[in-house]
């Protein structure tokens, strides 16, 4: 008798654990009261730290807006570019607000939202290298931040040119350090990063010399691939940010200039 009752209890416990009515991630975030965002804080003006070491930037504000919409508190989890996916998969963060390019290759692994921002790519060169345009980079030593859209595109260009060398550095700061030291002759980065680094005066002897002829780099928020409820919510959030003018307001605050359009002509979504 005793054995059967233990067995029965086990069965009940097992069914309770595997019951189909489980809360999804959106529920989890709301009930936990905290939204944990992966943000890259080495990527001004999207994410960086102020003098008091507090996270600031466009992505930080977007995370705060999202938390406010959900009625929870935001927690910014600093995540370098290569660690975005491990951070999500190991459950350290709920959502990536990390300027992540929405490539089809990556979308096999994570769930991408509609674009929330768009970058154009600029070439920044060391003044001594004599590079005046994108084409001049052919045959030179160039670098970019490992794992970014522009790094992948630039490495492909170097392979096509069949001359020169490509070096991926782990952080944006290392790329610009190497550039100002002359270890690399030029880099391709988002124009926002290029401008903000050249203006910062931290890196001597470099200037933005032109645009790179790469596709516009649309970036998405991301979360686990199967969390449709959350992805659906994030898509609406991005739409509302544009609709309410908050996107334009934050763009003006952090970047300035012409507001990039987030829609692609001639196709849905």
């Amino acid at each position: 008798m005793k054995k059967t009752s233990v067995l029965a209890f086990g069965l009940v416990a097992a069914t309770a654990l595997t019951s189909p009515a489980k809360a999804d991630k959106l529920d989890d975030i709301i009930s936990s009261g905290t939204l944990r965002c992966a943000v890259v804080l080495d990527f001004p003006p999207m994410g960086s730290r102020d003098e008091n070491n507090n996270p600031i930037g466009f992505d930080v504000d977007y995370c705060n807006d999202l938390a406010k919409a959900l009625g929870v508190t935001a927690e910014i989890v600093e995540t370098p570019f290569p660690e975005r996916i491990p951070a999500l998969m190991s459950g350290r963060v709920d959502v990536g607000v990390a300027s992540t390019s929405d490539t089809l290759e990556r979308a096999k692994t994570v769930g991408m939202t509609i674009p929330y921002f768009a970058f154009q790519m600029a070439v920044t060169a060391n003044d001594k290298s004599g590079i005046k345009s994108f084409e001049d980079m052919k045959g030179k030593t160039v670098g970019a931040t490992a794992g970014t859209f522009e790094a992948i595109a630039l490495e492909k260009s170097v392979k096509e040119w069949g001359a020169g060398e490509f070096r991926p550095y782990q952080t944006q700061a290392d790329v610009f350090l190497a550039l100002s030291q002359g270890q690399i002759d030029a880099t391709v980065s988002t124009s926002t990063v290029a401008q903000s680094n050249v203006k910062s005066g931290k890196f001597a002897g470099i200037s933005v010399v032109g645009m790179a002829p790469y596709d516009i780099d649309y970036v998405s928020l991301f979360t686990n691939r199967e969390e449709y409820g959350l992805i659906n919510y994030l898509n609406l959030f991005i739409n509302q940010q544009v609709r309410t003018g908050r996107y334009a307001e934050l763009y003006e605050k952090w970047v300035g200039g012409d507001l990039p359009s987030l829609s692609v002509n001639g196709v849905y979504r």
Binding site: G147, Q181, Q183
Partner: protein, 221 residues
Amino acid sequence: MISYSFHWNQAFKALPQMLDGALVTLQIAILSMVVGLAVALALTLFRLSGNRALSGFATGWVEIARNTPALFQIYMAHFGLGNFGIHLSPYTALLVGIAFNNAGYLAENFRGALKAIPDTQTRAGRSLGMTPLQAFRYIVLPQMLRVAFLPATNQMVWAILMTSLGVTVGMNTDLAGVTQELNARSFRTFEFFAIAAVIYYLIAKAVTLIARLFAARMFRY
């Protein structure tokens, strides 16, 4: 982790690329050991020389190499020297950084091994009419290498694992660099890192095994 489904077939497609990377890793480790052994021997002789400047230089090297992180040493070889206009490619910077580290640890190995050989042996050699150099070359050195050999293979394994720090200075051809790049492109982090870990493990095991076989043949009494 529950939410991650593994796509091993996608990851295994990149195996040839990763094995090419493993060769570069092995190459750097071997070169860094060759350079490291030569420098360590020189540092050991400097310390024995009794010359203040030389032994001070050797001690300084050993102190820095052993008491600072390898990451810092490699970073300094690239960005530190770069500050003074000395530009080492990622490959060279990684090699220099690891060789610097190896030399420090191996010099300390050699010192320990020397202590294990009684002074009386040198004196016996000298009394047979050997010069100090001959006594070192024919009596001390062979025994020192025997004692230092197995600790040195540990350093070789350590050198292999240290090559993975090359990614911080823009290295993209070694195993860690190739893995990082594949990861960035596809976000299949866990598959690629697992494969890389297995490859590192196998290389390290192979090195230990070969070293044991070699030692068994070379250092028989």
